[in-house]
Amino acid sequence: MLTVVTFLPLLACAVLALLPRAVRVPDRVCSWVWIATAAADLALVIAVWVRFDPHGGLQYEQRARWMPGAGVSYHVGVDGLSLPLVAMVCVLFLAAAVHMLRETRRVRALACLFLFLQTVGVGLFVALDLILFFVFFDLSIVGMYVVIAGWGHGERARAAALKFFLYTFVGSLALLLGFIGLYLAADPHTFDLVELTRSNPLAGQGLYAGLVLLAVGAGLAVKTPTVPLHTWLPPAHTEAPAAGSAILAGVLLKMGTYGFVRIAMPLLPGSWRQYAPVFVVVGVVSVVYGALVALAQTDLKRMIAYTSVNHMGYVVLAIGAAGSLAGSDAQARSLAVTGAVVQMVSHGLLTGALFLLTGVLYDRGGTYALDAYSGLAAHTPRFAAATGVAAFASLGIPGFSGFVAEFQIFTGSLASQAAATGIALLGILLSAALFLRALRSLFLGPPRLPAGIPLSGLADLRTREAAATYPLLVLALVIGVLPRFLLDVVEPAGRSVTELVAR
């Protein structure tokens, strides 16, 4: 089942790519194949969710021999940590497909690329083998590089894409070294996540375990990204096309944080507890620094990019707090982990929506500069409303998913890391300030557009743009108001991660 979910998009991609060039496929057909595949994949994931037993641990497991000599197997499965993320990934890819319905530049190649990225995104979250995880981790970089370089905004996009590739590639290789360290420590040597979790090969190995955690942690921190390894993110986001940004923020960043919860915490519990304060500090610094720098931006897309650093900071804070046993009980720690997972889902939906909306703005005005626009609310009520909702939800207003996530993170972290949590609360205040500032500057005041674009030419959200964005916001609202359906799935998994870290 999971194999089908994972490779269905790749199959569609292969069909589109391998059609002989003589067969002229109209762009519209490509777009609809793309949308249909993404929708079918989402339907499959919903079917998986319906039959999922929250207390059943890993489910839908499939394991096949791949390279037994090298300790590598094809092993997939989902539990409460990965299933919500897989669902979020599929929702986001469908939204991206709908958003790109009117794209005119090399549509067939673009559809292939996004379908390929969808396989990579889903595959990473269901992978239960370190090498399988790494394969998808690396391929996501390649795919996103091509999206940014090929469909970004001109020459600067190629530079940004190169920076993105080099930066995250360093991270992925550090990760690989860490995986090799884990592999060699296990007896018999294996890359299997489940077996490694069970045997905990690095227990009591002091420096060696610390070095492995350093390698794995650095690799994932680049991808997350946390301060100070975040500098690739703003240019990559600014130069990428809207749907590419949404996927980058919604899916690729989650690969880093998911890696912490899936790999670093259960496989290296001893060192995780030992170095938890480091993660707490990194998380808090990311929260505050990300928000402060976002506040100083004059470019809307860059600003949202920095809020991603801020939001991922909460996640890192929570998982750091989950490793601090002193002064906290198991319930608080499991609350922090649950909050971290919900935050990943929430951030994927909301930031995805924000980036798609930013794409709409660029489509109309040709620039992301905040001071080029003013008073848009009068002419584009739907666009203003959607952006407003997304921004408020993103800053953590009650009633939306962001609140549920951040509330859990703070409650779970407060007991053991009171000072850090207090400082991190500042981040909420700062992000409220920056979103309000952006909203005021864009939508209120006298109507104004970038030079050369008449006000009459300003169109509100079109149907396909609304169809791509609204569902993301509605989902965020549903999670905010009726979070049980999500929490029921995440909480048992959060508890088991907490137990694994505490052993």
Binding site: M67, A70, D138, L139, F169, V170
Partner: protein
């Protein structure tokens, strides 16, 4: 004494095909000389079949008074070399068609291929040196085969370097002989620990000099860029692939069989050479604008990764399979890239590749797979090789070397992307006329093979494990 000639069938096939090709070439009219190419291909195929038979029936043995070992590394190396030779023959077929010395070309190719096979199995210093000569001398002629200015310069450089380091190597053989009183690896293993360490060290360094020349590793790499750029693309593909396979397996066997516990710290020497090779190759490749020259420097850096396996040869059991797997993957991937270069004779600089994806999507895809493969992107074969080599290095206690290799891998990405970026950019000149279908097909086969080797690595890995004999 085991004198089973049947154990040497692949070598015999190549040598016999060379002799027959030379005779037939003298009598065949020019438009029928392609028969020699077919003969060469048939010899490779027969060799592959013979090797497969040896592996399937488990006839590992040493022959001729343990001067030649037929064991797991030999068989894996034979498969790699013969497959690679087959691909080189295939990619030469069209560019050489109707050339007035067509049959000589294939004869030279077969002879140097035989030499490479001898290097792989050599279990005695004298066999090793014989293999070195047989692999080198026809290759000098191949480098200058076109008789143009570039080719002649390339051949001269190649020859002078080869002659110098060959002499040094022979001196090294003499020194080791003086130290242990024998040239067979088994006797050396027993004799060297008691000998004067300075003598052993000098002999070893001298013998390694010759092997490093064949492999094109720092500091014996100066010929690589000039020969690769000056020679015809198929010859360039040959000199950057096959001799490396031969030299590295020969080096592995020498170090593992003859020099464990000899008191010389050769693992450190090789680790330093590995680091130097990968770093130097990468730095020099950064701003190359000529595609072949870029590939030449990239092969120097690849040798660095391969030498990592040699430096931990006696420290971990993982070294052997890492080396053999990486060699096979590297050979396929590198040949794939060179096949694309051969298929597009008019494209020389990186800019000439602009717009290739629009006009020749198949070749662009092969280039994408092969160049990203050389970086080590999963799921290609080289990724699996790199994974194994890094694992072996960490397991062998050389984590710093693995870290250097990781840094170099990232750096190498930069120049491979410099080539790939124009390929996928629209526009550009119309320099994309292809040589012919066979060459393009060879590129497809090599690219697919390099990808499959990664995906089906599980099936290949068992072929690389097995004890060294002798």
């Amino acid at each position: 004494m085991n004198q089973n000639v049947a154990a040497l069938l692949p070598e015999t096939f190549l040598a016999a095909a060379a002799v027959c090709g030379l005779l037939a070439g003298s009598w065949l009219p020019r438009h029928r000389q392609w028969a020699v190419a077919a003969l060469a291909a048939a010899a490779c195929l027969a060799g592959i079949a013979a090797t497969g038979h040896t592996m399937a029936t488990g006839r590992e043995q040493t022959v001729f008074d343990t001067t030649f070992a037929v064991d797991a590394p030999t068989n894996a190396g034979r498969l790699t070399v013969l497959t690679a030779l087959l691909l080189v023959v295939a990619m030469s077929a069209e560019s050489l068609r109707g050339h007035k010395r067509e049959s000589e070309y294939y004869v030279l190719l077969l002879l140097t291929g035989t030499g490479t096979l001898v290097l792989i199995g050599a279990d005695d210093l004298l066999t090793l040196f014989a293999g070195y000569l047989l692999a080198s001398i026809p290759a000098y002629a191949l480098a200058g085969f076109a008789k143009d200015a570039h080719g002649t310069e390339a051949a001269l450089k190649y020859y002078l370097f080869g002659a110098l380091l060959g002499t040094v190597m022979l001196a090294g053989v003499a020194l080791l002989y003086a130290a242990a009183g024998a040239t067979g690896y088994r006797t050396l293993r027993d004799g060297l620990p008691g000998a004067d360490p300075a003598l052993v060290a000098a002999g070893l360094v001298a013998v390694l000099a010759g092997l490093l020349f064949k492999a094109g590793a720092v500091p014996a790499h100066f010929w690589v860029p000039d020969v690769t750029e000056g020679a015809a693309p198929p010859v360039a593909a040959y000199v950057t692939t096959l001799p490396k396979v031969g030299a590295l397996i020969a080096g592995y066997r020498l170090l593992h069989q003859a020099l464990p516990g000899c008191g010389v710290d050769w693992p450190l020497l090789l680790a330093v050479l590995a680091a130097a090779s990968m770093t130097w190759g990468n730095l020099a490749a950064f701003f190359q604008t000529d595609a072949k020259r870029l590939l030449a420097y990239s092969t120097i850096s690849q040798i660095g990764y391969l030498l990592m396996a040699l430096s931990v040869a006696t420290h971990t059991d993982l070294a052997q399979r890492a080396l053999l797997l990486y060699l096979a993957a590297y050979a396929l991937t590198n040949l794939g890239a060179f096949a694309v270069v051969t298929a597009l004779p008019q494209a020389r600089s990186l800019d000439d590749y602009r717009g290739l994806a629009g006009r020749r999507p198949g070749l662009a895809a092969v280039l994408l797979v092969c160049l990203l493969g050389l970086v080590g992107t999963p799921p290609t074969g080289v990724f699996l090789g790199k994974l194994e080599i890094f694992t072996a290095a960490v397991d062998g206690g050389r984590t710093w070397l693995a870290a250097v290799a990781v840094a170099n891998t990232v750096a190498s990405l930069f120049y491979y992307l410099r080539w790939l970026a124009p390929v996928f950019r629209p526009g550009g000149t119309q320099r994309h006329a292809v040589t012919g279908r066979v060459t393009v097909g060879t590129a497809y086969v090599a690219g697919t093979g390099s990808l499959l080797l990664g995906l089906a690595g599980g099936a290949v890995l068992p072929l690389t494990t097995g004890p060294l004999l002798g």
